[in-house]
């Protein structure tokens, strides 16, 4: 422990703590911008500078550690002036299109300006060139970037992807892929974690709200929406409710009021996934145990960011992936086939929308594989954030909405489906069904929660032993199934490296692309609550426990779907609609011609045109006449002369001093 003084207040702090952390613990707030607790503390923006007695320069409090007897001032005249100047300098190279920016009123940079009391922007000068690069999932608008580098840390260190890094130097610095390549042509997993941490409007999901409104307003379109599990424990945050608040019923009501003809639940397809993936797993294990060829471990395939990651980086391991499409694409395929037939609507007249906690799902629906009969399984994906924007813009008072139910038959789900939204959930859901299918008994864990794989750690493992199995599964008698669960692509890398080395002890692996799973997905509300993960997780477990059915195979609509339409799990029909294959892409996208770059939307194009026109209006630097340039040269030389004279004077003074010292020294000796 060390004792220090902050703003005349004596406090104690733990060794190794930063000034920022020590201050916060004592309810002193130091303004900051690039700081992300535990993730990104590099002192890039310098907004958090404080005065430390005895130090010549101001210190960035997010990286300066406390020391015994340190005296810190966080709010002096000097500190306040410096913060304002720093802010204004950043502002001078910022596009300042605030009123028409998606982050207007939710922008950390804007909020900081208000906090600091900045009322003027004194610096005018060159601006970074206008560059907007849009992939199907993520849009980079570099006129808004303030170079805080949060995205760089998240992409490189948290996710281990490294699609973006700082390029060039000084004023020309830009955060982006190598050699100006567009995001849609590189190894970006489209996980969108960068869009969650971006404090401004520089990194964001590629907007699909316009397309969805258009479909909703088109009387010829039959619009069907579905919602992923993780959305229901986060959407409330956009309306002022605490993280993890369960607002499923209000969300359904809101979607109806937006004008969707049917409101279905991706959860239904999560139950379906368990039937398909569980069966696939049992078949693989059976083949392996009966001497046939089988690729194990099998790895889950629900997370499209994870899929893109493995397609780029470990494309020779693609056989390990389950062939199941992700749940929302399964449901999309069913809506345009099974459901369309049952209500006698042509698939071309349908428009399917998925509300997802994810940006990578925007990429996934553009894949050639996610089509059946020439129709896209899902026509548009909007993030949780985009849905909130639509609800607000439609004038719906969210908090006052009644609770409503999803439409059937594709809206009923079990508790197993709810936990698909968090790390360990898919595995737990699969085990609940697989164990019971094989043994005829319930999974032997309290509350059906497989405790070793519950929690937010990077990698979790469990072993399930099958004993007293039913006769048709006799090949599993006494077999120990080893499972592993990871979330975040850095964790996936660890498990895949192990697999590539031939040392993976597991039979079944669950991977979710975002740390903690979909609850912390790239399309979720940006939260400043340090406990947001746990709260959203708790929300999903409560949702699970509140369900009548807790196991996917008990879902009555799933049972009847198989009886009346699909036949049995992994049937020919199921394969056609619900399964897929994968594309080797290569680290540099070199193994495929496919790219995911999109044309800029009309709004952005207009902005570019406007900016270019403004630039053209700036009068060119007037050409100097010969006389002018001569006089300018004279002035230049005079300045140089003055400078040299003062240097000479300095040197002469130094010589005098040295002479004096010398004479003193001579006298003494």
């Amino acid at each position: 422990m060390v004792t220090l003084t902050i703003n005349n207040q004596k406090i104690t702090a733990e060794d190794g703590m930063t000034i920022m952390e020590a201050a916060r613990q004592n309810n002193i707030y130091i303004p900051n911008l690039c700081y992300l607790p535990d993730v990104h503390q590099i002192g890039a923006c310098r907004i958090c500078v404080v005065e430390v007695e005895g130090a010549k320069n101001l210190q960035a409090s997010c990286i300066t550690q406390v020391a015994e007897g340190m005296v810190v001032h966080t709010n002096t005249d000097r500190v306040r002036k410096v913060r304002k100047i720093l802010y204004e300098l950043m502002l001078s190279d910022h596009s300042q299109d605030c009123l028409t920016c998606t982050r207007n009123l939710s922008c950390e940079f804007q909020a900081l300006g208000k906090l600091l009391g900045v009322e003027d922007s004194r610096f005018e000068g060159e601006r970074s060139p206008f560059q907007v690069d849009a992939s199907v999932a993520i849009t980079r608008d570099m006129t808004k970037c303030i170079l805080c580098r949060r995205c760089v840390t998240v992409c490189n260190e948290v996710q281990g992807v490294g699609a973006i890094s700082p390029q060039n130097r000084g004023f020309k610095t830009e955060i982006g892929p190598a050699m100006n390549l567009p995001l849609g042509k590189v190894n970006c997993a489209m996980c969108g974690q960068c869009t969650v941490v971006c404090p401004v409007g520089a990194l964001k999901e590629t907007n699909s709200v316009g397309d969805v409104w258009e479909a909703l307003h088109d009387p010829k379109k039959f619009t069907v929406v579905q919602v992923a599990p993780a959305v229901r424990v986060a959407l409330g945050e956009e309306f002022g409710l605490p993280a993890g608040s369960r607002i499923t019923g209000k969300m359904v009501a809101a979607l109806r009021r937006l004008g969707f003809d049917r409101v279905f639940d991706t959860n239904f397809a999560a139950d379906l996934t368990i039937m398909e993936e569980g069966t696939e797993f049992l078949n693989r294990v059976k083949n392996a145990l009966t001497g046939k060829s089988a690729v194990l471990p099998m790895i889950t395939s629900c997370s499209p960011g994870w899929i893109k990651y493995i397609e780029h980086n470990y494309y020779n391991l693609l056989d390990h992936l389950s062939t199941c499409k992700s749940p929302h694409c399964m449901l999309g395929a069913l809506i345009k086939s099974f459901y369309a037939e049952s209500i006698n609507v042509q698939p071309q007249d349908m428009y399917t929308v998925s509300v997802m906690p994810c940006t990578a799902k925007k990429f996934e629906i553009q894949r050639e594989e996610m089509k059946n009969g020439g129709y896209k399984n899902v026509d548009a994906v909007i993030t949780t954030r985009e849905l909130a924007q639509m609800i607000k813009s439609a004038g719906i008072d969210f908090q006052e909405l009644p609770d409503e139910e999803f439409d059937n038959p594709l809206g009923l789900s079990t508790g197993a489906a709810d936990i698909f939204g968090l790390t360990g959930g898919v595995m737990e859901a699969a085990l609940r069904t697989v164990y019971e299918l094989v043994t005829g008994r319930e999974l032997p864990f309290e509350g059906l929660h497989v405790t070793p794989i519950v929690g937010l750690e990077q990698i979790k493992t469990a072993t399930i032993k099958f004993t007293d199995v039913l006769p048709e599964y006799s090949f599993l008698e006494g077999v120990e199934v080893k499972v592993a669960v990871t979330s975040g692509l850095a964790g996936a890398k660890i498990l895949l490296d192990q697999l590539a080395e031939g040392e993976s002890p597991y039979h079944f692996i669950e991977v979710m692309g975002c740390p903690s799973g979909c609850i912390m997905g790239g399309g979720q509300p940006r939260s400043s609550d340090p406990d947001v993960r746990r709260k959203r997780m708790a929300g999903l477990y409560t949702e699970d426990e509140s369900k009548v059915y807790r196991k996917s195979h008990e879902n009555p609509y799933i049972i009847s779907l198989y009886e009346n339409y699909l036949g049995e799990p992994n049937s020919h029909k199921a394969h056609e609609l619900l399964h897929t294959h994968y594309v080797p892409r290569g680290k540099f996208n070199e193994l495929t011609d496919e790219d995911f770059v999109v044309e800029l939307d009309e709004f952005t194009k207009r902005r570019i045109a406007r900016t270019t026109r403004q630039e053209a209006k700036i009068p060119p630097v007037p050409v100097k006449t010969e006389q002018e340039s001569v006089s300018a040269r004279i002035l230049e030389l005079e300045a140089e002369n003055k400078k040299l004279k003062s240097e000479l004077q300095d040197t002469q003074e130094t010589v005098e001093i040295m002479k004096l010292v010398l004479s003193k020294y001579t006298k003494q000796s």
Partner: protein, 165 residues
């Protein structure tokens, strides 16, 4: 830095040899921390410049993201992603050389070689750059061609110097 070879001058065989040499360099250095700059430096010496393809090769060999390699390449002005001339001329425009007429030398070279700053002559002989002080202020105005420093250059001397290359 030794004389760089323009890319088009490399045959397929030479290219393969260069890549093998670079692979060797990476093998030698990749376990040392922060060795990327050194590897890129040697790779440019071997290959002449650092095009995307070569950056990808280095990223793959080192098992680091391409965006990081490109970030370092684009940070340092001595790295080039486009083919460079056989020789590099760097005219010093530090204060002393500037005052003593460095700018005139730049202008003269631009006219004579018909090349913009940072560009390479059509025949691939020279890449033309400026430097911010090469530490030869007493010899101003100075310029460097490859590793050789030429002192107190003037327009007449310059033509003679260039003839040697």
């Amino acid at each position: 830095m030794s004389a760089a070879i323009p890319k088009e001058a490399l045959s397929q065989e030479e290219k393969e040899r260069a890549y093998a040499q670079i692979a060797n360099v990476v093998k030698q250095y990749k376990h040392k921390k922060d060795s990327l700059v050194q590897i890129l430096h040697l790779a440019q010496e071997i290959y002449g410049h650092l095009p995307l393809e070569l950056q990808q090769f280095i990223a793959k060999e080192m098992n680091i993201p391409l965006s990081q390699v490109s970030g370092v390449v684009s940070f340092y002005s001595f790295f080039s992603t486009v083919p460079r001339g056989r020789h590099t001329i760097r005219v010093c425009l530090g204060t002393a050389c500037y005052v003593r007429g460095g700018k005139k030398i730049v202008e003269h070279l631009q006219n004579k070689l018909q090349v913009e700053l940072g560009g390479t002559t059509e025949d691939g002989n020279f890449t033309f750059e400026v430097a911010r002080c090469i530490g030869a202020c007493g010899l101003a105005p100075a310029l460097m061609i490859d590793d050789t420093v030429y002192k107190q250059v003037n327009v007449n001397k310059l033509d003679k110097i260039l003839e040697q290359y």
